[in-house]
Amino acid sequence: MAPAATVGPGSTDDVALEVSDVAFAYPGREVLAGVSFGVPAGGFCVLLGVNGAGKTTLFSLITRLFLCRTGSIRILGQDLSGQGARALAALGVVFQQPTLDLDLTLRQNLRYHCALHGLDPAAMRPRIESALAGVDLSERAGERARQLSGGQRRRLELARALLHRPRVLLADEPTVGMDVHSRQAIIGQVRARCREDGVAVLWATHLVDEVEPTDQVVLLHRGRVLHRGTAARLLTDTGSATVHQAFNRLTGAQEAA
């Protein structure tokens, strides 16, 4: 099995998330083939790809919603197939679909999340309050999630995903459908956790303007990795001026092939 190439500054020793030679197929349709990359602790890795590239399927494999039969996935060195519980405990997830219980209050949603991770919600109260304050939703903590706007719900989901202090955060197109300010706020909060707490982030998106020059980029197209490395290297390798141009060149070349 080919070792995962680590994108990011860390050595393979501090790889928080390691995806090695992963393949997956729905009946009669191959979705992922030979996908390998790694995200170091404290690294921000953008999984870039158009709709249908295989990003959500890859997320389903990393979160163990689907079983990874070909290749391997390791979280903090724990193999997902062998030590799934320990691996999942280190994982925070913001799904592409909203997953809040709209009939529960904001605080109740966070308490429920604590319980699902085996944490005592009563003992976690200060952390819950702090998480709500962190996404500027303290004043609405007693309201039902249904009453929040789309952007506020996403912020709450982000707070929830980080509540159990995961070492790896997966975010599957969390900014889709949001206005520019809300998008910037969400990305800013995630980058801060990355810098300050050393959380490894895998950020799936098809929005190229969310990529910063220092970010690690894994470009996924039709289930295959076309590029992995920094955004700056992506520009150099493709001779492009912008990530958008590089993205079009690579995926366009793939279409032509």
């Binding site: 249908g52 959500t56 979160t63 009939d103 529960l104 308490r111």
Partner: protein, 268 residues
């Protein structure tokens, strides 16, 4: 993961279902209308037509209302179990099911907690129904109300596990109603809920055999006997075996190796 953490998960899921129940009181009380209509109208109408001879666990001639009350209690559990599975299909479509499934705890434990939460709500509904039925003349011995609790819980778990399995194989919410028609009605009508099995035997032997091996019949009889402070070991064994079978099927249905409940393909 320590035992205390397992209990925290259980408490969390029970609390969530309890809160949902508080937020959806209409649904809770609405579920009582169906059996009460059967009790107040159907049973009154058929009282003269369907005479009930002395059969265990009854020690004397009884009114038809008294006969069908355990069947209607089981009907509440049946609809409760199916309602619970409907909510799981809904949760899956809405995405909140994913949150449950990425918990680091074993999937069997998460599903068991969910199952137990749904069963407890359904059992509460049955007790409310039995309280109303008492004023309608259905008055089993007081001890029966206590002894029936394990029977109700076991039957609720069995029917909930069946619902759980169905929710794992139903792809979309729109398909749910159709599938339910193939499950709820045959289970209910081909059972001893509305008429004693000996009456069915008089009409059709094949139908009698179907009714006899219907898990819902076992649940009804277990509830009936427990409510009258007697034990039906055959029904107990049947319900326990069906619970084990449906639970195994549900766990298989939610096995990640099957692609976690056959999520809709797509996305990024």
């Amino acid at each position: 993961m320590s035992p205390r953490q397992y209990l925290l998960v259980l408490r969390g899921i029970l609390a969530r279902e309890g809160l949902r129940f508080l937020h959806q009181r209409e649904r809770f009380f609405g579920a009582l209308v169906r059996p009460l209509v059967w009790l107040f109208i159907f049973a009154a109408g058929f009282r003269a037509v369907l005479g009930i001879s002395i059969i265990p666990p009854y020690e004397t001639y009884i009114l038809y209302e008294e006969y069908i009350a355990p069947g209607l209690a089981a009907m509440i559990l049946l609809f409760g179990g199916m309602q619970s599975s409907l909510s799981m299909v809904y949760d899956r479509e809405m995405g909140s099911m994913r949150l449950l499934m990425v918990s680091p705890f074993p999937r069997w434990w998460l599903l068991l907690c969910k199952l137990l939460a749904g069963a407890l709500v359904a059992v509460l509904q049955v007790y409310l129904f039995l309280a109303i039925a008492w004023f309608w003349g259905v008055q089993p011995p007081p001890i029966g109300y206590l002894l029936v609790l394990p029977a109700l819980l076991l039957t609720a778990l069995m029917l909930g596990a069946l619902g759980l399995f169905l929710s794992s194989v139903i792809r979309q919410l729109e398909n749910f109603a159709g599938v339910m028609n193939f499950v709820i009605f045959p289970l209910f009508f081909a059972s001893s809920a509305l008429y004693p099995l000996w009456r069915i035997r008089d009409s059709s032997i094949p139908l009698y055999e179907i009714c006899r091996f219907n898990p819902f019949t076992w649940g009804v009889e277990l509830i009936r006997f427990s409510l009258y402070a007697q034990m039906n070991w055959y029904a107990l064994a049947g319900v326990a075996a069906a619970l084990a079978l449906f639970l195994a099927a549900a766990l298989w249905g939610y096995d990640p190796g099957r692609g976690m409940m056959r999520f809709k393909q797509g996305g990024g």
